[in-house]
Amino acid sequence: MGRSDFEIRRIFSEEEVLPEVVRRKKHEAYDTIFDQVKAQETRKEENAQSEGATKRKGKMSLHRLGTLPKVAGFLIACVLVFGGTAVATTLLLNRYDRMKQMEQKEKDTLWGDLEQGGNLAYELSRQLTARESDRLNKLREKYKSNEAFPDGELARLVEGEAYSGEGVALCRGAGTNGTENLIYLPERELTDEELLEIVEYEEKLIYVVHENNEKRFAESADWAKRLTELTDEEVDYYYLAFFSTRMGLFDGYCRVVNGVFMGSTEGGDKLSASENVRYQEMLREYEEKGRIPASEAVVIEKPEDYAGNGIAVCRYDANFYLPATELTDEELLQIIDFRKKAYYSAQRIDDDVKLGHRQARPSLPQKESDELKNLSSKKFSETTGETKLSDLNNAAIGDLVEFGSYEQDGDCANGSEKIRWYVLDETQDCYVLLAERILDDKAFNEELKTVSWADSDLRGWLNGEFLKTAFSAGEQSRIVADEVRNEYGGDTKDKVYLLSDREICEYFGIDPQAVDLTVFGTDVKASLKRQAELLDELDPRLFAKPTEEALKRGAESFEQASVDAYLKFDKIDFSKALGNGSWWHRSASPQQGPFANATVSSGLVNAGQYVNDAYGIRPVIRVRK
């Protein structure tokens, strides 16, 4: 059996003791850094002493801002920290409300602190003890989850004002070299209230920074200023057109020649050399001379909506669709303008989410989801109860039925076994059936090349050899050869086919806007964790196990060794994926190269599997009633 992507990833993620020479050189580098810092601190102390500053002795420690907190999803009243009814009132507000309550004067003061301190810095008059550091971190977490807030706030000392020795107090410019801001701390152990005041001060600084981001961006250039004038509705529009795809890739090109999508091998996924040169010229014109396009790129829902002329942005795959002809300056400007607006919108939305102005990123409005629902029945996803084996002549959506036979138990001598299917959908005339298990293991296409479902070897095999092997002549005559609507490469007329990305979302009740179905983000661990969670959240019928015979033929399944490895290396429990296999969809996006999508063992869509890789086959048929 070949090794899966999971397996290769595991091999490369294996931790090992670093060679001695690497550890030694690392420590040498760290020592150098420590020496530098120490020398710097000594210089600072000497300067301070020579200036006769009345600072407390002891090692100064630099304290900087933490990351911007994520949006808090809930509010938990925690009276343990403070106790009393006054606290309960305070806790009615979440931390964002506390930020929003800030008056402009306070924001200006904080901005003044930032300008004075530079680099988001402040110093503490003494180093925190290990215990205090630990408590600070814990209280920061509580603050972020709205469990604990300070009653009061950091005191402020004016320049030259002496610190009383009690409470925490900020003095601008009292730190190193008279530029850094200094927070005076009492010599005794800090109280929770004092630590929380420091935490809130940091949070407020971060808030002010984000609020000023937009202002600073607007001031950076005229074109940037124009973007900041977009309304929230416009920002949503550009964002959704470009970033609502869950196909894994975005911001590509797709050139359409005579109605045919040109793949990467034909150069359809990029601009020509001369267009690239002119793109750069237009970018300069746009950024430096304020040249904007006369009109905008249009937004289309699906690739087949592209009319073949002008520039269109497709929501389905977030590609720019281009005409066959050399792009005009106007068209290049449309691309530049749309791209700038889309990326700006994403940034603004992120800032808004971080600032608590929005709860979450926008998703497609319900109306459009409803339109998508009409493409096929949603009922299957509502039948997650017990699945019963029914007679095909009297079946209901969600039932399991038997139809046709295929070698499954790995013992050819005892003949083939009946195939079990889920009833995915029904019309007046027929049932739509999806194989319960992965029946075989095949490449989408034998040759690694750009290919659509219509031209794939797999389609040929399913409607040829598989059809003949699995169904008797009588059964074959009951299978409808009807139109299959494809997202790419034109519609086909098939007896046997595979589900498309969109159909999977529809039948299994997945909102592609809400669930990121693509595997492997930049943060592998977070992505793996999410996959493990989705094993619980997604319809269990989405996961399929290969038959014994399919395993013999090379189908991969999530093995105990992988479960153990993930538990050992990542502390993530994938035991629910045990035995699951990966299976092809028919969604091959030719303009993006030789790739098609597949559902992997943990139920997620792996966008862009190489077409010549073998994956499991879960056929779909329509059977006359």
Binding site: V21, A29, D269, T522, D523
Partner: protein, 169 residues
Amino acid sequence: MTQGELEALVIRAKARDPEAFMKLMDSQMQVLYKIARSILSNDDDAADAIQDTILTCWEKSSALRENGYFKAWSTRILINRCYEIIRENRNVTYVEELPEIPVNEGSDAEWKEALAVLEKENRLIVTLYYVQGFRTKEIAAILGMTDGAVRKRLARAREQLKRYYREEA
């Protein structure tokens, strides 16, 4: 370490907090080592490249604009340094003559075995993809290649690995 924790360390490191910086680099050490070894043929050179990278990251951290790009940024510094070391070594050993990665140097780690199976030019891409978890587009940006070229190389590398494991079985 989550992306959030990583970014928190980056912010502190940028503000010249040596302890945060070291914690940050320690969290990347396995990855940096594997990347260095996917380009360089021995641990000594890899150790030098990592040492220089640590110091460069410390010195230049304030130049990092987006905290979320720390991984890509430090990876790029490391890769550049590795190629510089190869260039420096050219006086002694011509790059094409560098010995293949010895499978059992220091350890019998499976990933080293897998690296040795691959063509030299594909090792780095595989490491960036599988170890660092970069997407092909990010790898393309780091290496200054097209996304298509990265995918093609990755495809070839996976084929090599598959073939190797098939034969091994």
